[in-house]
């Protein structure tokens, strides 16, 4: 099994994601340069956090045209597991692989802080085996994480069970004070219709070892690895 981590110009969490896959979880990992169009032997792809192309125009708006994205789209359409973290999530939205768009945070501030997110579904490639209702503590680090979709589309998304993570209090209660960026319905992560593409704003790769304050993020990586091992 091998997991690929895409590096765009401006990615900054690619090494963290690689480290977690390779050294924390003990699985094979390799970097994929954004100009490479061949995903070859990969069983899953991670689009990491950062500021691809300096977030020029809009977050993810230029990165979605990188050559690798054509291959990632094909891979995703065939059911291949794809995880987008923070900027990776924004790129997947711009590429049309995940719904919604990110507005500037409600506070108009860049937010770098730990948050609590509640797992809403256990039937995706990164939450399989993580019980619904589990609260994970992970950091966020973004200026544009204010998830937006029109109300009708939100209703549809919820009806299809595609809201995967929500910002909550430590004990898993919805509370506007616990919604750091003003996201519609406190949405922190969603998936595609096939449930094989997942994006979330918090950084599981920065919370995968107790030494850095939380190991909760490791559970998402382990869930993904579990899915690949059973495949």
């Amino acid at each position: 099994m091998r997991i690929g981590v895409v590096t765009f110009p401006g990615s900054n969490s690619d090494h963290d994601a690689y480290h977690v896959v390779k050294h924390v979880c003990g699985q094979d990992a390799r970097f994929v340069w954004h100009k490479d169009s061949d995903l070859g032997d990969l069983d899953a792809v991670i689009l990491p956090g950062g500021f691809a192309y300096g977030d020029y125009l809009r977050t993810g708006a230029i990165a979605r045209f990188s050559p690798v994205m054509r291959s990632v789209t094909e891979f995703a359409k065939k059911g291949g597991p794809v995880l987008g973290i923070c900027n990776g999530f924004q790129i997947l939205q711009e590429a049309g692989l995940l719904p919604g768009a990110m507005l500037r945070n409600r506070s108009v501030k860049f937010l770098s802080q730990p948050v609590h997110v509640r797992v809403e579904r256990d039937d995706t490639v990164v939450t399989g085996g993580v019980p619904v209702g589990t609260v994970l503590t992970m950091p966020i680090a973004h200026g544009e994480g204010n998830f937006y979709l029109p109300d009708d589309d939100l209703d549809r998304l919820e009806g299809e069970g595609r809201v995967i993570f929500r910002y909550t209090t430590r004990d898993g209660r919805l509370d506007e004070a616990a919604n750091p960026n003003g996201s519609a319905r406190a949405i922190a992560g969603v998936c595609n219709a096939g449930r094989n593409v997942v994006g979330l704003m918090p950084h599981p790769e920065r919370a995968a070892e107790a030494e850095v304050g939380s190991a909760d993020g490791r559970r998402l990586f382990e869930a993904l690895i579990g899915v690949l091992q059973r495949a």
Binding site: L57, R58, A61, Q93, E94, G100, A101, L103, R104, N105, R106, S107, V108, N146, Y148, L149, P150, G182
Partner: protein, 81 residues
């Protein structure tokens, strides 16, 4: 050479945190009668060898595919022949 001006703004239904912040600042500065502020983006495209009609088609195509995100933004194109 035709020049295209593309204005991209958040849709009316979408909250604009930056516009709101500017609006609040204007109120603090003492400006009265500023009912609302919406922030947007402005692009100037220099289009070589295109008629005004072709320039409009090209600019609208670019605006739709790249410059604006249709989930949150709308755009307007002006052509200067």
């Amino acid at each position: 050479m035709a020049k295209a001006r593309v204005y991209v703004t958040l849709k009316k239904s979408v909250f604009d945190p930056q516009g709101k912040t500017i609006h609040d600042a204007l109120a603090t500065m003492g400006y009265r009668g500023v009912a609302d502020v919406r922030q947007g983006k402005f692009f100037e495209l220099a289009l070589d060898g295109l008629s005004a009609d072709a320039a409009r088609t090209t600019a609208e195509d670019i605006a739709r595919k790249v410059l604006a995100n249709p989930v949150i933004e709308s755009y307007r194109v002006e052509i200067e022949p």
